[in-house]
Amino acid sequence: MEKLKSKKKISIMQVIPAIGILISLVFIYLGFTKYGFWDEFKGPKPGFFPIVVSIFMLVASLLSFFFSFKEKSVNWPLEDWILPLSVAGILIATFIIGLLPSLAIYVLLWLKKFEKCSWKTTLIVFGIIAAIVVGAFGMWLGVPFPKGIILNMISN
């Protein structure tokens, strides 16, 4: 009984094809109602190609959904998510203090506090990253990095 219950449990393996079904239905609906499928004189309309692709995607999603019940769910190591969280932090911090300071703080905190590296290793890696960012992207490619609200207020 328990085995049966665990088999019927919905996991990420079913969620992904289900999202695929949903997306394809949205694309088909918008394609027909908003962008059009076929013009008698001009031929294919803007919705034509996405609708055709969405129909194939719908079939593939349904098949994937069906097959997914035979697959075991996967585990999600919590520590893997620390990196996306850090990048989300950088995205938010960039609007306040700018991209370069946000990256600098991230690298120093990551190496020194999170990975517990020595100051020597931290500074060497920091130097390599600074050379890539400032040297290659900033100076060579001339990328204008965002300064953030605070620096913009000061400079204005």
């Binding site: 075991k72 990975e115 490619l141």
Partner: protein, 505 residues
């Protein structure tokens, strides 16, 4: 003969200080990226793409081509010395490379065998490319919209079918890639489409941040749980002198390297097959030939067969990429995306309209092959240090390159946001058994497919008959149906109990 003349002219284009310098730079980076387990050529090329914006297209593609090609050399290093393949194509090298380094205590010779075999296989692939590329382009000139549509559909679905264990998942992601590419603006009418009212989405999903996220950032997230694994090296010291092979060893590696060179090239030309399949096939074919020692025990023939095949495939894959505009792999798709960004349209007319570019690139592969062999040989004493770089130190470096690289494409945080979302999505998909390469390939090819498909339907006034009227498109359509119906056939066979579904852990 005419092709050889063009090739010599290609060398003329190549021999500038800048082009030679970027070939060397690309070769060194390719070796490093290939040697470090977990990055791979796809992520390497994607991460480097923003750095090429300042170059002219020829120089940029020369650098990326050298990186891609040298990556095939580098992948074997970690297979041989630490028993972990640097990338997919190096998986088979592990079978004999690691035992040769550990059990036979010949790590240097294993590395040199791998380098020489890669060189031989790559050279064969490039020579065939020199002659086959223009022939393929000539054949491509016969293609109208219907033929191109059918070919593109085969290329897209075959990579979805061949990559990963589950064809349905591959095809699903192929469709996802096409739909993502169709967002923004309708290329033919110029009308907004699927922008959901967002000004940013009106411009579509930018290619570079999408690719960096899908294959670069997702890879770094995956490395998080592996970052404390210690690298166990087979040896503590290596020298060039100790890595020299004997004449007898060379005689052993030559026949399988030549055989796999031819086999690998033709596998590389097929859409979706790529270097990994070539390496597997090269090794499988070697099993039916005589080897001095049994394969899997550290046989030179084993290393030679797969290393030669994967380098030959990497060279062969440039033939359909340049002549038809069809990439054979995810890395090829990124290279194609780069070419399109620089305003070049690979296809049958490339050899006619931009010969200096096409032949310059082919010539650069020859040069990259020689330079990479020399660097791969010279780097042997330093490999211990390179492979000892802890993953935990690589994570912040790659993360920062992902962020800055995505930002630099549009000088907007929108690029970083796209990279972030595609990275997390790519990570989730990878963990659940969905390979992201089909999505990248279809994302690049979608505009070409849409434009050809719509033109075909306009010509035929909506009749599907246009795809089966001419023999070329008919053949492609038959192949396409076989690929598409495979999951359904599998479903029916599974239902009938003929096939058992493999459970994924």
């Amino acid at each position: 003969m005419e092709n050889l003349m063009h090739l010599i002219q290609g060398f003329g284009v190549l021999f500038t200080f800048q082009n030679i310098a970027v070939t060397i730079f690309g070769a060194i980076l390719g070796l490093l990226v290939g040697a470090m387990p977990g990055i791979g050529s796809l992520a390497g090329v994607a991460l480097l793409l923003p750095l090429t914006f300042k170059f002219n297209p020829t120089t940029a593609i020369i650098m990326l081509g050298a990186l891609y090609y040298a990556n095939m050399y580098g992948g074997a290093f970690s297979s041989i010395l630490i028993g972990i393949p640097g990338d997919g194509p190096a998986v088979m090298t592990l079978m004999d490379g690691y035992p040769m380094a550990t059990k036979k205590n010949r790590p240097g010779q294993a590395l040199l065998t791998s380098n020489l075999s890669s060189f031989i296989g790559g050279s064969i692939g490039m020579i065939i490319l020199t002659f086959m590329g223009p022939l393929l382009a000539e054949f491509g000139l016969k293609f109208g919209p219907a033929e191109m549509t059918a070919l593109l559909l085969v290329a897209m679905t075959s990579i979805g079918w061949l990559v990963g264990e589950n064809p349905t998942k591959g095809i699903l992601l192929t469709m996802v890639g096409i739909l993502l590419a169709s967002m923004g603006m309708d290329t033919l009418s110029g009308n907004p489409r699927y922008d959901f009212g967002s000004v940013y989405l009106l411009g579509g999903i930018p290619f570079v941040p999408f690719v960096i996220g899908m294959v670069g950032f997702s890879q770094v997230i995956r490395l998080m749980s592996e970052r404390h694994q210690e690298t166990k090296l087979a040896v503590s010291k290596l020298s060039i002198k100790e890595s020299m092979i004997t004449l007898h060893d060379f005689k052993r590696l030559l026949p399988p390297a030549i055989r796999s060179g031819f086999l690998g090239t033709f596998v590389g030309v097929l859409p979706g097959a790529g270097a990994t399949t070539a390496a597997f096939m090269g090794y499988a074919v070697q099993k039916s030939f005589k080897s001095e020692e049994p394969l899997g025990t550290g046989a030179i023939e084993g290393i030679a067969s797969c290393e030669s095949a994967n380098n030959a495939a990497a060279a062969g894959a440039f033939a359909p990429l340049l002549a038809l505009g069809i990439p054979g792999s995810g890395t090829g798709a990124v290279l194609l995306g780069g070419l399109m960004m620089w305003g070049l349209n690979p296809g049958p007319l490339l050899f006619t309209n931009s010969p200096e570019f096409a032949w310059g690139l082919i010539a650069s592969l020859f040069l990259a092959n020689i330079i990479t062999l020399a660097i791969a040989w010279g780097v042997i004493p330093f490999l211990i240090k390179i492979l000892s770089v802890p993953t935990k130190l690589m994570i912040p470096v790659i993360t920062v390159v992902c962020i800055v690289g995505s930002y630099s494409t549009s000088n907007s945080m929108y690029g970083v946001l796209i990279m972030f979302i595609s990275g997390v999505l790519g990570y989730i998909l990878n963990r659940t058994g969905y390979q992201t390469a089909p999505a990248v390939l279809s994302f690049v090819l979608a505009p070409l497919l849409e434009s050809n498909m719509r033109k075909a339907f306009i010509i035929s006034q909506g009749s599907l008959g246009i795809f089966v009227e001419k023999p070329i498109s008919l053949v492609f359509i038959v192949i396409l149906f076989v690929i598409l119906l495979f999951p359904l056939i599998r479903l029916v066979l599974t239902k009938l109990g003929v096939l058992k579904v493999k459970e994924k852990v």
